[in-house]
């Protein structure tokens, strides 16, 4: 019997799937099916606590500072945040993997230049860098994705390089070189497949960082422009009202918590499975 059915051993995976499925339902079903508008509000119905009925509409999570339904905003906001985080991750992974492989494969100057760039990237505090970049290019969803993506490649490059160094020495790589395969072909056909696994795991572990980062950027008011909701914007805007309407930061906070815990547990589980396979 495959051991994924062992509840005790896979408690983390089960919890992860449950959490992530709930989030998925939230950000797919709410925008599609929930009748209330996430952007338009009723100014006469601001700060209504959860489960309040206004007119003929029930607000299960209450309303915000402009009388908008929090559930509708949370659903759409989660979907948008996830979109941002996923796209940014893709940029990070692709950029980091390619540069890391080049550094590891060619060594020498290529390696030195790329790895110093990694150090430079890591030496500048993320938030300061993002503050600076957003101040230059202006805040927008596209810019945010690019900024998060471009500032997150360093760690992927490190891992890709380390793995490439290991793989490069294997016999079949030597053999490919002997039969005259180009560098590019070797890198993409033979080295890349060995890196995909570790990068996927790293990705699940890096996602939470991006989710928090998006929230922090939203907190500082430099993210996606209102009235578009994201998890960061919801908490960032709601924080001013934390004494008055704590649900505005509580529920988005719970969603962030569930996402981060879910991703991490999933990542841990993947690491463990990989280890077991290696052993």
């Amino acid at each position: 019997m495959p051991d994924y059915w062992n509840v005790r051993r896979n408690a983390d995976a089960i919890l992860a799937v449950a959490l992530l499925a709930t989030i998925a339902a939230l950000c797919i079903l709410v925008p599609l099916l929930w009748p209330l508008d996430p952007i338009r509000g009723l100014l006469t119905a601001t700060f209504r606590p959860p489960m309040t009925v206004v007119g003929e509409h029930l607000h299960p999570l209450g309303t915000d500072q402009l009388g908008r339904d929090l559930l509708a905003r949370l659903g759409l906001g989660t979907a948008i945040s996830l979109g941002i985080v996923v796209l940014a991750s893709i940029i990070s992974v692709v950029l980091g993997t390619i540069l890391g492989m080049l550094a590891g494969y060619f060594g020498g100057w290529v390696d030195i230049v790329i790895m110093r760039a990694v150090d430079i990237q890591l030496a500048v505090p993320f938030i300061l860098l993002i503050l600076l970049i957003v101040a230059v290019v202006g805040p927008s969803m596209g810019n945010l994705i690019v900024v998060l993506g471009v500032t997150g490649w360093a760690i992927f490059a490190r891992v890709a390089r380390a793995r490439t160094l290991e793989v490069r020495e294997l016999e079949y790589i030597d053999a490919s070189r002997a039969i005259g395969l180009s560098h590019l072909a070797i890198i993409f056909r033979h080295i890349l497949p060995n890196i995909v696994g570790p990068q996927t795991v790293l990705l699940t572990l890096d996602m939470p960082r991006l989710i928090i980062l998006e929230a922090s950027v939203g907190f500082l008011g430099l993210g996606v422009q209102p009235p578009t909701p994201t998890l960061g914007n919801l908490i960032g805007e709601g924080r001013a009202f934390i004494l008055l309407a704590n649900w505005l930061v509580l529920y988005p906070g719970l969603v962030i918590g569930a996402l981060v815990v879910g991703c991490n547990l999933l990542g841990d589980w993947l690491v463990r499975r990989a280890d077991r396979r290696d052993a």
């Binding site: 952007i39 338009r40 509000g41 100014l43 006469t44 601001t46 700060f47 500072q65 402009l66 009388g67 957003v134 101040a135 202006g138 805040p139 500082l220 008011g221 430099l222 422009q225 209102p226 009235p227 805007e237 924080r239 001013a240 009202f241 934390i242 004494l243 008055l244």
Partner: protein, 495 residues
């Protein structure tokens, strides 16, 4: 060794600051921004702290009337010359005498182009200062300047001690100021506090509060908490939504200064189509539910308005705000050739009372008449560089604070070509120029009123509302709040 020293310093920071005073009463005031430098001639921030250390020639009493300060009297000798008779026997905190030389030194220091004073523009009409005798000065202006006494009542015109400034230099002066004011400077620890101590020899009498501690608490919730827990006695900028918490608490009161804040407006870049059409501008004006915004978003802590001039300003004309009428707005748009509306970009920032929320609400209301708004809420540091040229609709707060004259409230934002103006109406320009050349108050008032009437018709910008200013204070503090946003601790009493 360095590390040890740093750690010792860090440990020292944990000791209570400037151990308890024997001088009795003390007040702690929390502001959202830190004090950075205290040279009144070179301020880049509000003069709130400095105002307690220094005096001006002319002062404003609590009803905002100009009253004698370091000058006992002033008269206009002719259209371009003002004579000030100075108070005798006043000394700076270090013992230096206050006299006409100090006045000349103060103003010359700011006018000196090499000094690069950031607030030069506030007194740029001055062409020279002449010492007539030790207690008489004459200030000459480039042209007629009816506002000169007002200019002498605010920064950068706080009088500084010449010998001390020359001795220590501007940089040291900014961190160890010496003035003639009610409070003497004691200690400045950047980002932590400024401590002041009563000046027992103050020319208006010794202040009743012995010691003042100014702190900076940027976060609104934290600032409010500090008041609630009694860590501070007075706070600036109470967030509007939390105002009820302050007023309902048994330990604290809310001080609401009606019309104490800026007048918020939407600037329209009139050179951009379709904002060049008066009907479009009028339509936008009618599409905004100002009262709804004031009541529901600002919790009544502002007043919907139809003119940029504040009720306390000289020249104010009470123009009611445009009536909310989306149907008529739509009709006007159709007449202007936009039956289906249009798309336009609008910029706002987070600096004023809930301005981010207000901008979103207005975007929604414009949407109701078919004008689709792409909203951009920018960080102030970015915003201030784009406004007012980008827009084409942008939100800004403006006021006449501390001059209390319509001129400051309108000229800079309505006159064609002024840095912050995006309006361009020739008739209006003519009136604005005229208003600056008249010295006679009655005639000037008439012109200022005409300007406001014309602006209401032509709608070069959309006046929204004037903010109140909100302070929170502990019950034991007797503080009323002033329309010019100063906090003169001399006038505060502790019960």
């Amino acid at each position: 060794m360095r590390t040890l020293k740093a750690l010792a310093l860090a440990a020292a920071m944990l000791l209570p600051a400037g151990a308890a005073t024997s001088q009795g009463s003390q007040i702690t005031i929390a502001r959202p921004v830190s004090t950075t430098a205290m040279d009144p001639g070179f301020l880049r921030e509000a003069a709130t702290v400095v105002d307690n250390i220094f005096d001006t020639l002319v002062m404003r009493d609590k009803d905002m009337q100009l009253v004698p300060g370091l000058a006992e009297s002033w008269t206009a000798v002719n259209d371009t010359t003002w004579e000030f008779k100075l108070r005798r026997g006043v000394k700076f905190h270090d013992g230096e005498d206050f006299n006409a030389d100090a006045v000349k030194f103060t103003i010359d220091r700011i006018l000196d182009p090499a000094a690069k004073s950031p607030t030069l523009s506030y007194i740029r009409t001055i062409s020279g200062v002449e010492v007539v005798d030790p207690y008489t000065v004459r200030i000459t202006t480039n042209g007629p300047d009816p506002l000169l006494p007002t200019r002498m009542s605010r920064y950068p015109a706080y009088i500084v001690p010449p010998a001390y400034v020359k001795q220590v230099g501007n940089d040291v002066f900014a961190s160890k100021p010496v003035g003639t004011g009610a409070y003497k400077f004691v200690e400045f620890v950047p980002d932590q506090h400024v401590i002041l101590e009563a000046n027992p020899d103050y020319w208006r009498g010794a202040p009743s509060i012995g010691r003042v501690i100014w702190r900076a608490i940027p976060d609104g919730t934290a600032r409010l908490t500090a008041l609630a827990t009694g860590e501070v006695d007075l706070i600036e900028n109470v967030p509007v939504d939390l105002a009820p918490m302050v007023s309902q608490s048994p330990d604290s009161d809310l001080v609401q200064v009606k019309n104490g804040g800026l007048t918020i407006y939407l600037g329209l870049v009139m050179s951009e189509k379709p904002l060049d059409q008066v009907k479009v501008r009028q339509a936008l004006d009618l599409a905004i539910d100002r009262q709804g915004i004031v009541t529901n978003i600002l919790q009544g802590m502002a007043t919907a308005k139809g003119t940029q001039v504040g009720p306390a300003d000289f020249g104010y004309l009470d123009i009611p705000p445009a009536k909310y009428d989306p149907a008529k707005a739509k009709a006007l748009l159709a007449e202007a050739g936009f039956p289906d509306g249009f798309s336009i970009k609008m910029q706002s920032t987070n600096r004023y009372m809930k301005d981010g929320e207000v901008a979103q609400a207005i975007a929604q209301q414009f949407g109701d008449i078919g004008v689709k708004v792409n909203l951009e809420v920018l960080d102030w540091s970015v915003y201030v560089q784009q406004v007012p040229r980008k827009g084409p609709i942008f939100m800004l707060g403006w006021g006449s604070t501390q001059t209390l004259d319509a001129d400051a409230a309108i000229y800079a934002i309505l006159k064609t070509g002024e840095p912050y103006s995006t309006a361009s109406i020739p008739e209006l320009d003519k009136l604005l120029d005229e208003s600056r050349q008249i010295v006679d108050p009655e005639k000037r008032k008439t012109v200022l009123e005409d300007i406001q009437r014309l602006a209401a018709e032509q709608v070069p910008l959309l006046t929204l509302y004037q903010e109140d200013s909100l302070y929170g204070k502990s019950k034991k503090v007797d503080f009323k709040g002033r329309p010019d946003a100063r906090i003169p601790v001399f006038d505060i009493k502790l019960n």
